[in-house]
């Protein structure tokens, strides 16, 4: 095939340089045309990485009155906020849930550190942590990762099997604050999300 092409009468030795140049030029132009589509194409595919990021402002919310939370019994509360989903915004929707645990001790006057709040998202793969009826521990329904009421993961020895949790429950900033008008004490939680599957808490951006 090649020989018969190069033996065509229109091609002499002098035209060979020109031919090689034309070949390269064709390739170059084809590449340029491809790049015009390919570069924006790749950029478009990478929108979730490069494009506008939703500002993940932490939601600060008063979840419950201090007096309504029993001691040492975890209570679950929803966190309500605006949830943006690509082109729609869902106002006042439940954007997450928290477990709130009031620590044993003097409950006459609320004080810092007496209330702990944890995200219900399992640090393993993000399933919703539930409270096990029998043991009272926090247990993930997916792979049975187990946590104590202080958020630490239950050790493998205690559990009698492997605990899938890479870290303890994600502890959220939590304060007991007094309402200016009613003088009531409230538990205020700062809700944030963290990357799953890591041994350390890394905020989702």
């Amino acid at each position: 095939m090649n020989e018969s092409i190069s033996n065509l009468p229109g091609l002499d030795a002098a035209s060979m340089n020109r031919r090689a140049a034309l070949k390269w030029l064709s390739r170059l132009m084809a590449s340029a045309c491809s790049a015009v589509i390919a570069i924006p194409g790749v950029s478009y595919i990478l929108t979730p990485l490069l494009g506008r990021r939703d500002q993940h402002a932490a939601v600060v919310q008063r979840v419950a009155r201090w007096q309504d939370i029993p001691v040492s019994r975890p209570m679950q509360f929803p966190i309500v906020g605006n949830r943006r989903d690509a082109w729609t915004v869902h106002p006042d929707e439940v954007v997450g849930r928290v477990w709130v645990v009031r620590q044993p001790g003097q409950s006459a006057s609320p004080a810092e550190g007496q209330v702990l709040a944890f995200s219900t998202l399992c640090p393993h793969l993000g399933c919703a942590i539930q409270q096990d009826a029998k043991s009272g521990q926090f247990v993930c329904p997916c792979h049975k990762a187990a946590f104590q009421h202080n958020g630490e993961k239950v050790s493998d020895q205690k559990l009698g099997r492997k605990n899938h949790a890479p870290r303890g429950l994600d502890a959220l900033e939590c304060h007991v604050v007094q309402d200016d008008t009613t003088q009531e004490w409230w538990v205020e939680v700062t809700y944030e999300k963290f990357e799953q599957g890591l041994t350390k808490m890394v905020k989702k951006v």
Partner: protein, 621 residues
């Protein structure tokens, strides 16, 4: 005449020569039933393409419309059947693929010069699995969305590139519109494109090198043309397979879960073909998890890919033994892990309960969607506004630390340590009769575990029965039954509306007893008589307004003011800041409607079944 048309066409397109390899294909060792797996796979894939194209006409990927559009497909003419075929054919594809790989392994059909057939075929397998993974969540159902969320996190926990891939797949860091549009793109565009490309290479290679059957079946048969001797075998198998798929699609159809809702938790599990990896992960925890999800599958894949090279080292007989061992190891470990995973779940009462809840929810979602209009926000909004769905969740979250809600059979939501009345059937005649019974009122189902156990209501009821015997007792019980009917009519429960009309006389005489002989109004307020502030108001007792008020603020004068209240919190006292209350107005109404058994029931089934309320059979009259 017709020959002339084909001649004309052939003169221009040369199609006879192009199609010659197909028309004149010869099997050097004759046809075999073993050769049918490839052809069957090909045609089932074509069925997937055709039904997939049809479904594309209606499906709409977004979180508000995905479930609704799939529900619409189910209502379309033949829609449920086509979706069913698409669903069952996808499972068939994976099963047939298993057979096909095993046949090729045993037959040693990967040997030179057929390496490319083997390699393209092996790459088709993960692509088919990815088609299934990307297809399952498209209906935006509970299971599918939970699966893709977990699968996204599995991808995300792969070292280095994981988080990037996860972000691109999910389209951000939360499952939403973009997850569905991305999955849709993968499912209907990119993956089918890649599969077709590989298939073209695979099938042309098969034509070039022929099918081989070195180790199984007769090899001494004479050469025979493919058409129709092999074709008839292929079609027989295909007919059985298609018949099975169509039968399943016709009788069972593809499942449609309830629309996904992050508020309704679930115990997500992968589909059966991934159960083995799910099980495998139990043995690799923490940072080692990618060994189970990535390294082991990848190693198996690489081993199989390099089989043509490995096989060359072994003598022919040893190779057969080796290949048989591989088949036994692959199939055995797959089956073993899968079985172990299912066995664990079948013994897990919590999982079974979660699955049964999920299936009830799916039925309810379809029932609401069938009879009501799906709003623009999507089908999940139907469940959000449904007391039957939301009531038990709200009750469990807010009330069940003190109150139980269990029927006489013991089913329902039981408080761990009940310290307040069992609210099952609250406001019904049966419930109120228990309150007016000297023994039951002091039991755990009523006031037994409250401070009111020491209160006047309990002591007055017991005094009323003191020394009453024989006919007197029967008469007193009859009177109290009338009072119970009167009070129950105050609740205006939907399930009792017919009975309340019929029993108008009884209700009127009960009202007289209540105000007169039985002295209820000494403490309670009822119809302009008695005072508020000493005991709960009997006007509209158990009605919607009464319950809304009671739950909002039990300390209010109408209910249990001052020290009359034991420890019931005020759930919606703050009218200025509804967001600061334990229950917002919407939740409060859902809870009350659920307690009263007031929710949408399709009218056709109300006459057929007993009303779907938690109210027990009314006392025999």
């Amino acid at each position: 005449m017709i020959d002339k048309v084909f001649d004309w066409l052939d003169a221009r397109t040369n199609y006879r020569e192009i199609l010659a390899p197909v028309r004149n294909r010869v099997l050097p060792h004759g046809p075999s039933w073993w050769f049918t797996s490839g052809s069957c796979l090909l045609w089932v894939f074509v069925i997937e393409l055709v039904t997939g194209f049809l479904l594309m006409m209606t499906y709409s990927p977004s979180t508000n419309s995905a479930w609704a559009s799939v529900h619409f497909i189910e209502q379309s003419s033949a829609g449920a059947f086509i979706r069913g075929v698409h669903y069952f054919a996808s499972h068939t594809l994976i099963i047939l693929f298993g057979f096909h790989v095993v046949r090729v392994l045993i037959a040693g059909a990967f040997r030179a010069p057929r390496e490319l057939i083997w390699i393209t075929g092996l790459f088709l397998f993960p692509l088919i699995l990815m088609l299934a993974i990307t297809g399952n969540p498209l209906s935006a159902g509970q299971h599918g969305m939970a699966q893709i969320e977990v699968e996204g996190n599995i991808i995300g926990s792969t070292p280095v590139i994981g988080p990037i891939l996860q972000r691109i797949l999910i389209g951000g860091d939360e499952v939403g519109h973009l997850t569905l549009t991305h999955l849709h793109f993968l499912h209907v565009a990119l993956l089918p494109f890649l599969v077709i490309g590989l298939l073209v290479l695979h099938v042309t290679q098969v034509y070039k090198h022929g099918i081989t059957n070195d180790n199984i079946g007769e090899t001494s048969q004479p050469a025979m043309p493919y058409w129709p001797y092999q074709t008839i075998r292929n079609m027989t198998v295909l007919a059985i397979v298609v018949g099975t798929i169509a039968g399943l699609a016709w009788t069972r159809g593809a499942p449609l879960d309830a629309p996904a809702d992050p508020n309704l938790s679930l115990m997500p599990r992968p589909e059966w073909y991934f159960r083995c990896l799910f099980e495998l992960r139990r043995y690799f925890t923490g940072e080692w998890e990618f060994v189970a999800t990535l390294i082991i599958p990848l190693t198996v894949m690489l081993f199989l890919l390099s089989l043509p090279a490995i096989d060359r080292v072994f003598p022919r007989r040893a190779s057969l033994v080796l290949r048989s061992l591989i088949v036994v190891a692959l199939v055995g470990s797959w089956a073993g892990l899968t079985w172990m995973s299912y066995a664990t779940d079948w013994h897990d009462a919590e999982y079974l309960a979660s699955e049964s809840d999920s299936s009830d929810l799916a039925d309810r979602a379809r029932e609401l969607a069938d009879h009501q209009q799906i709003p623009p926000e999507g089908a999940a909004a139907l469940l959000h506004a449904d007391p039957k769905t939301q009531g038990p969740l709200l009750f469990a979250r807010h009330c069940a630390s003190c109150h139980s809600h269990v029927d006489p059979q013991g089913k329902g939501i039981a408080a761990a340590e009940p310290s307040a009345p069992n609210l099952f059937g609250f406001g019904t005649t049966t419930w109120i009769e228990g309150m007016l019974d000297p023994e039951r009122i002091a039991s755990v189902h009523y006031l037994g575990k409250t401070e009111l156990a020491e209160g006047e209501m309990v002591s007055k009821m017991q005094e009323m029965f003191d020394g009453v015997e024989g006919d007197e007792l029967t008469k007193l019980r009859e009177q109290l039954h009338k009072v119970a009917r009167t009070l129950s009519a105050e609740a205006a429960l939907p399930a009792q509306s017919e009975g309340d009309k019929q029993d108008a006389d009884v209700i009127a005489s009960g009202a007289k007893l209540l105000a007169g002989k039985l002295h209820c109004i000494d403490c309670h307020h009822f119809r302009e008589q008695g005072e508020l502030g000493t005991a709960p108001d009997l006007d509209g007792y158990g009605s919607r307004a009464w319950l809304l008020g009671m739950i909002s603020d039990p300390q209010e004068k109408r209910f249990y003011p001052d020290d009359h209240n034991d420890r019931m919190p005020s759930f919606a006292k703050d009218q200025q800041h509804p967001d600061r209350n334990l229950l917002n107005p919407r939740e409060l109404q859902l809870l009350v409607d659920w307690l009263r058994g007031e929710w949408y029931v399709p009218s056709a089934s109300t006459t057929l079944e007993s009303p779907a309320t938690p109210i027990p059979e009314m006392a025999e009259r």
